[in-house]
Symmetry: C2
Subunit: 226 residues, 2 copies
DNA sequence: CTCTCGTGTTATGTATACAAGAACGCTTGA
DNA sequence: TCAAGCGTTCTTGTATACATAACACGAGAG
């Protein structure tokens, strides 16, 4: 639309990313309806590319498309959320385990850097920065697995869980605990202790899943009240 | 198109499934071009639904869409294939581990039945039947994990690996070995030995991955020659 | 007063027309 | 004869028009 990218597919990516960002950041809330005409008008395109973007989002699980009844932002039940975190934990654990065996010097540096930045953000009490650096840290671990397919799948699921992850930083003391868990993961990976790295990474996510489930349950309760 | 299903979305699903089946069964070979107009004509619809189906297939990874250059059946490199099997192994292991902890009476019965049917097919030397029953067996394990999201992801990846899985049955003695591995998995799950179940299931897939990588390498070699 | 049925409106699904880029071949020159 | 440049043609990407299903609102009957 705005020629910000010479790549011919820039528009489609832009449109998809824009809607995705709005969902992930919470600008579009769960269950909210996504009107094709409205989106088309807002982005200055016709319904056709909008529909394609929505289908892509549906494929990634961020939205649900009910035939003849339009698209809505996916409403994830607490049960399903727990399941998703369970899988995320396994993927993270796998990444950590593989990383501990295959760690290159580059990945080692990247890992230490990302960990240090997390610590800095936590030290300054900057929740938003920690959120960002935490994401970088996890992506570094994914890449360090030296399994591109795994990394892509991990990022996909990570993105899908983003909206819930963001909520979690509100929990008092979570950042401090999170840093300590990162420390254990990093140490195990650097020491080449695959099993330990896997378990620490798994636990790190499982804990988040449990916290989120609690949060979700309470949020749902609030929704019912309001 | 043919009113074989009153559901309004039947056409889209049918179209997607049809193309997917052709890819999975090898009717459409890797790298082959998918012409929108041609597909539209073949299925008696316009390009619009064809494009949507292609986008869905691209999202699931079965085809690749290069901007302005059309869609081709995804060409998976041996490296990438090994990576995918590595992830599949982890998911299968996870399913087996969870199943061993959460096994319901229903799932137990289904597991034993599926295993028995595999044995029968193997006993009769019916490779096609074994292929089918083997798939059922794995699906039973996925479901027994009592994690619907995990099961869905496992099925998704399983489907994506189908074309390669099919090739693998050609390997002499593979079916017998496969059955023995199933036996170990079933026993561990029934005994509630999570770690053992996970490891057996993982190994079961890792072995396949290695076999397939060998096959792929030799097939690619043949391609180059021809 | 409530429930149900019917009609009108709105939005989705599909078809078709148009725009633009990429592949291919042809011509022309060396 | 070969290579390079240009134009044609074919295919994709987008817009728009039309068909049809779902929803909402209102009227009428019980």
């Amino acid at each position: 639309m705005r020629g910000d990218n010479p790549n011919s597919k820039s528009r489609a990516v832009t449109l998809r990313d824009a809607v995705e960002t709005e969902i992930v950041t919470g600008a579009l809330k769960a269950g909210e309806r996504l009107d094709e005409v409205q989106l088309a008008a807002r982005f200055g395109v016709s319904r056709t590319p909008v529909r394609e973007a929505l289908h892509q989002l549906a494929a990634s699980g961020l939205i649900e498309m009910r035939p003849r009844r339009g698209a809505v932002v996916a409403q994830v039940s607490p049960d399903r959320l727990v399941e998703m975190f369970e899988v995320m934990a396994e993927l993270e654990g796998m990444c950590a385990r593989l990383a501990s065996r295959r760690l290159s010097d580059q990945d080692k540096e990247a890992l230490l850097l990302a960990h240090r930045k997390c610590q800095e953000a936590a030290h300054h009490g900057d929740a938003d920065k920690y959120y960002y650096e935490n994401e970088r840290f996890h992506h570094v671990v994914y890449r360090a697995s030296r399994n591109q397919f795994l990394a892509a799948e991990a990022i996909r699921l990570h993105n899908r869980l983003k909206p819930y992850r963001r909520l979690q930083l509100r929990i008092r003391g979570r950042i401090t605990t999170s840093i300590a868990e990162h420390e254990q993961i990093v140490t195990a990976i650097l020491d080449g202790q695959g099993a330990a790295a896997q378990e620490h990474a798994r636990a790190h996510i499982v804990i988040q899943g449990e916290r989120f489930a609690d949060l979700m349950a309470s949020l749902n309760h609030l929704d019912e009240v309001s």
